[in-house]
């Protein structure tokens, strides 16, 4: 057989994507429990999402400290006993705290659900936040902070977001050493009561499980008596978030660059169009920023852009670390790529590539129970449903070069962008 390797195999149009509608049950108080039962592995992930992110309460670091110390002791068991029991069954408890929400997740082999679930409910219901554990947390946290302050990528993120939101806003306030002095058992208990016990948004159960196992989770978490709440965000009086800032760092062999601006949340009518535009600019390996600044010039190991949607707004950022000697060249090339988006129409060929790439990446993002669960969690906390995902696919299908150029005109003018350089 004579094989012509110059000819690519034909590409077939993607099949129509069907997004599995999950089963939804409710706890008392109309709290949704989303059940995603699929996959090949006998494991379960039980995630509870609370309106308990950095935005909640009014003392810095308390939301993060509550999240971090939640599993360090309950009315029934000490920190060491909880760790011992969960480790014994190969289970894993994860607590996370973001800007808007906090979540608590149990990962367990389905066969050990009966043994591990009680520890999840007790740390959620009766955490004790012992002084001893707070002391350890302070030592660990302050040291971690000191190390982070030596990392250019952390500093870049910190100063960038501070510039967009201001140090007084919970989104813009990054931890400082003195914040640790405010952590006390009573402050954490108060926060837990206000924003965990009375702030459950919903539960997502995913993995491969039986009906009785699902019912067990629902009934045990139902007994906890959570009440529902939602996140309140005040965006009044934020700084302008424009201009340039240069932060020197001694001995830096690379400069970190961040360029971006505040934008909108997932429900905004331009969200999908902007996210496609972002992909063209810096959202995948073949993006314009990667092609130009890494693959053509070799200025960096990596460059990308992204959007970070939050519950009420969001922000857009370009991020890279480049050799200090090529810093100005790299910044110039970044603005060149942004200008091209505003002034020139994207070719049909490039748009076709981006559409197909995004279609494939959407398919991957709903493959497997945990990925699908992540999608449904995002919909839940943004008060959306699967219609939103179909709307995205439809937008992707219909988007035109002209719409993308208009979008760039509206949101990517240089005067509206903030530029930050750390090091060099």
């Amino acid at each position: 057989m004579n094989l012509d390797r110059n000819i690519a195999p034909p590409l077939l149009a993607p099949e129509k994507i069907n997004i599995q509608e999950p089963e939804i049950q409710h706890l008392a108080g109309d709290i949704p429990v989303i059940l995603i039962n699929e996959g090949t592995q006998d494991v379960m992930k039980v995630e509870l999402v609370f309106a308990a992110g950095n935005i909640s309460g009014n003392i810095p670091l308390i939301p993060a400290a509550t999240s971090e110390l939640l599993d360090e002791g309950s009315a029934q068991h000490s920190s060491a006993e909880i760790a011992e029991a969960l480790d014994y069954y190969g289970a894993y408890l994860q607590t996370e705290c973001g800007n808007d929400h906090a979540s608590v997740t149990l990962y367990t082999l389905s066969k050990f659900l009966d043994q591990t679930l009680p520890y999840l409910t007790e740390i959620l219901m009766t955490p004790t936040f012992p002084e001893e554990e707070i002391a350890t947390f302070k030592i660990q946290g302050q040291q971690k902070l000191a190390v982070s302050m030596e990392k250019v990528d952390y500093l870049a993120r910190r100063y960038f977001i501070q510039a967009l939101y201001g140090n007084d806003h919970p989104y813009g306030h990054f931890q400082e050493e003195k914040d640790y002095d405010l952590i006390t058992t009573s402050a954490l208990k108060n926060f837990h009561e206000s924003f965990y016990l009375n702030g459950l948004l919903g539960i997502v159960v995913s993995g491969k499980f039986t009906t009785p196992e699902a019912q067990k989770v629902i009934s045990e978490l139902g007994k906890c008596g959570f009440t529902k709440s939602s996140v309140q965000v005040n965006l009044q009086g934020l700084p302008e978030g424009k201009g340039r800032k240069l932060v020197p760092k001694k001995d830096a062999v690379q400069s970190a660059i961040r360029i971006g601006r505040r934008l909108f949340n997932r429900s905004h009518p331009d969200y999908f169009t902007f996210s496609i535009l972002n992909t063209v600019l810096g959202g995948y390996f073949g993006s314009r920023l990667m092609s130009n600044i890494r693959e053509d010039k070799g200025y960096t190991y990596g460059i990308g852009s992204g959007i970070a949607p939050q519950i009420s707004d969001g922000y857009f950022f370009i991020s890279t670390e480049v050799g200090t000697s090529v810093r100005e060249d790299a910044v110039r090339e970044i603005y060149t790529e942004i200008r091209k988006l505003r002034e020139e129409l994207i070719s049909e060929e490039e748009l076709d590539l981006v559409k197909k790439y995004l279609y494939g990446s959407f398919q991957r993002s709903i493959d497997g129970p945990f990925s699908l669960a992540e999608r449904h969690k995002t919909l839940l906390i943004n008060n959306l449903n699967t219609k939103h995902l179909y709307l995205y696919l439809e937008t992707l299908n219909k988007i035109t070069p002209d719409e993308l150029r208009q979008c760039a005109h509206q949101y990517l003018c240089e005067v509206d962008l903030f530029e930050l350089i750390i090091g060099g």
Partner: protein, 411 residues
């Protein structure tokens, strides 16, 4: 449990197929049996630089990434001291695009000066970003040559120094390809929505015509037995002091691997583990501490690394580690053994959640000797006894077998 079929093409390419119709996707994984240990001591960092060049276009296809992205696929690669691994996930209907691209770059690369020049710069920036411009970033650049005096594990995958990468020329690159990138030195695994018949057809069509190569027999210098403790102290402008203890231990294919791995789990897996409870929580000497083994193909390293609470001296910290080690040599309980076995089982079950990981796991175990091992891992861990773990602790966790790095804060 992964069901699989294995076959070998006439040119020596081993292929393993795991069909999973619950997904609309297929993962391809191509593992080349070449890593940083196969480099010349004066040309280190080459296997990894080469991985970058594999994305610079192949003999018949000018761009690797563009057609792949147009197929709706995603891909990446990694290099370590033993292997170079490429993986991609495609929608099932465009699977053939993956075969077309991977087979062409196995056949030959475009080898352009431009691609080499750019990727040299990219890798130099990677060197700076990950190893030089990070607090503690150079730890492995210091620790490897301390622990290894003869074996090529003495250099990190990124290379000994930036100049080795800067000096790479096209002829070296071509020679490296010719030596190692051949069907009989690779394993292709396919996991997802693809059946055996289709896999065989596509392999025949795209890979069967690639000639085999005379892959050299590996004859690496063996590391002599270490007889006295080695200590290296450096002082850097970092916020706090860290210590790294590296003991020589067995290879991944050794029967003792599983007991050694469980020893590291007894010491540091999870918050309930010995090092964390004793030294972080009770004595408050460290803010964090961990133990793990590298699991290399040749004789490997067992590590304990700890971040010291400010004001604690390395000597006190190290002595406290050896106290915990002394105890673990004699008093592991049945409950503790059961705990680390459950942990090992859980992490294995979770590691098979994605088709990409299944494809990688299959390729990895086939590289070690036999893909069937992928389904025997939980059993292997379950067979370990308390005596096995104690014996390993006594054998390896001795100061004479240890290379110790004190990474001190100047503050």
């Amino acid at each position: 449990m992964i069901q699989f079929e294995r076959f070998t093409l006439d040119n020596g390419l081993t292929v393993i197929v795991h069909e999973d119709t619950s997904t609309p996707l297929v993962a391809l994984n191509i593992l080349y049996k070449v890593g940083a240990r196969d480099e010349h001591p004066e040309q280190t960092g080459f296997a990894h630089l080469f991985e970058h060049l594999m994305f610079g276009g192949s003999v018949n296809i000018p761009s690797y990434d563009e057609p792949l992205q147009r197929a709706g696929a995603d891909n990446n690669a990694f290099t370590n001291n033993d292997i170079t691994n490429y993986y991609l996930t495609l929608p099932a209907q465009n699977l053939e695009t993956g075969f077309w691209l991977e087979s062409d770059r196995m056949l030959s690369l475009a080898f352009t000066e431009k691609s080499l020049e750019v990727q040299r710069n990219v890798v130099v920036e990677e060197f700076k970003q990950r190893y030089l411009n990070q607090p503690y970033g150079d730890v492995w650049l210091l620790l490897r040559p301390l622990a290894y005096k003869k074996h090529p594990y003495q250099w990190a995958t990124i290379g000994k120094e930036v100049s080795h990468i800067e000096n790479a020329v096209l002829d070296d690159v071509k020679a490296f390809f010719k030596k190692w990138y051949a069907p009989n030195n690779a394993i292709l695994t396919i996991a997802g929505n693809c059946n055996l018949k289709l896999a065989k057809e596509l392999c025949e069509k795209w890979f069967a015509g690639i000639p085999k190569a005379a892959v050299p027999n590996r004859n690496l210098p063996q590391e002599p037995v270490q007889t006295e403790q080695r200590i290296l102290e450096v002082t850097r402008d970092v916020p706090s002091t860290q210590v790294y203890l590296a003991w020589h231990c067995c290879a991944r294919t050794d029967d003792d691997f599983y007991a050694t791995d469980l020893l590291s789990d007894v010491l540091s897996r999870g918050k309930s583990s010995r090092l964390y409870q004793k030294l972080v929580k009770e004595k408050k000497l460290f803010t964090d501490i961990g133990a793990y083994m590298l699991g290399d193909i040749d004789k490997s390293l067992f590590l304990i690394e700890g971040k010291l609470v400010n004001g604690i001296t390395p000597e006190i910290a190290e002595a406290s580690i050896y106290e915990v080690i002394e105890q673990v040599k004699s008093d592991i309980t049945e409950t503790e053994l059961q705990k680390v076995k459950h942990k090992a089982e859980a992490s294995f079950v979770f590691s098979e959640m994605s088709i990409g990981n299944k494809a990688l796991n299959m390729a990895y175990f086939e590289m070690l000797g036999d893909v069937s091992e992928v389904n025997l891992q939980v059993e292997r861990y379950n067979a370990v006894t308390i005596d096995d773990i104690s014996r390993i602790a006594k054998e390896i966790l001795r100061p004479e077998n240890c290379s110790l790095l004190r990474y001190k804060s100047s503050k």
